[in-house]
Symmetry: C2
Subunit: 193 residues, 2 copies
């Protein structure tokens, strides 16, 4: 059953009954993307909340100078969306692009609103998931202001060892808010230490 | 009834019954703070989620150089907490301090967990509230990167006209991530225009 990883994930927080799973399975779409394809593009409306069944994605925005800033990555068992666009159904600020061939379980906005009514425990589930996302974004703001780049890189490696291995270095530099040359210097120093 | 503004606020999103209100009233604490007092201090655990009945607060952190960075303000009908500390019951990164004499409705962590069981519609309420907080923090990251300081200031004034009037300019500068001299320059330019 292709959606099993999604059910397993949700079951960590609330207990889905077989009936709940059927309701979800009838509506949740599985969609395959090739490396390089976009799940959301800046200016479009983010129509679905995405659970990663396999693959790897980056969420980024382009500043006024055309520079790309990576806000987050996502791999298996992560959720990814432009949350603001999804919740308010207004144009997205962010782009979400596949860094590998990727398979997503997609929940459409209207279906999710319906799920909240049919499976009220999903209110709890998404409340907890969004709390986690919010906490993680707050922690990131703090560490961007208060930790030197080397510490931020070490934290990233420790927290997301799988992403470090799957994503090019220049994207990790963008995520950390430093140049790829500076990241390369930090990495050489760490090898010597 | 002192908690009426809290009930009115919640009723915008879910419908509380008189029984729900009694359950809340039995546990939600009302606490008065003087200007200058701290609701949360960095390193302590944030024990309660706070709804502002009256007053004004700032949430800030201190970087390694001892510099204060204001992450958010809160006035009547806003929620304020170090969400990460509150949810995980671990030491806070942020400080929350009263800028005026302030009255808060405080929900203790254990009580909130109990409320979710006794009043399941509060799952929906807090899911929506946390979504809003998350969206607003994401929008702020984007505008910090992509908008010039003058635009950020105009956005702030438009979005939070009441805060602009109640908070000293140097704190608004800190919130915008600029010096108070630069904010003062922006303001003089705007008067001329």
């Amino acid at each position: 059953m292709e959606l099993q990883p999604l059910f397993n994930y949700i079951n960590q927080f609330v207990q889905l009954t077989p009936e709940d799973e059927s309701i979800l399975a009838a509506k949740v779409k599985i969609r395959k993307y090739l490396k390089g394809q976009f799940v959301v593009q800046n200016g479009d409306i983010c129509k679905y909340e995405n659970f990663v069944l396999s693959g790897c994605l980056k969420t980024f925005y382009i500043d006024n100078d055309g520079q790309e800033h990576i806000a987050m990555f996502a791999i298996e068992n992560w959720w990814t969306a432009d949350m603001s666009s999804f919740i308010t159904q207004t144009p997205a600020d962010y782009n979400i692009q596949c860094l590998e061939n990727t398979v997503l379980a997609q929940i459409y906005y209207e279906d999710l609103e319906q799920f909240y009514i049919q499976i009220p425990k999903l209110e709890r589930f998404f409340r907890i998931i969004i709390q986690k996302a919010y906490i993680s974004s707050q922690k990131r703001v703090i560490s961007n202001f208060s930790l030197p780049a080397k510490e931020r890189y070490l934290q990233f490696r420790e927290k997301y060892p799988q992403i470090e291995q799957r994503v090019p270095q220049y994207m990790i530099a963008s995520y950390l808010g430093i140049t790829k040359e500076f990241l390369s210097k930090i990495r050489s120093q760490l090898i010597v230490e």
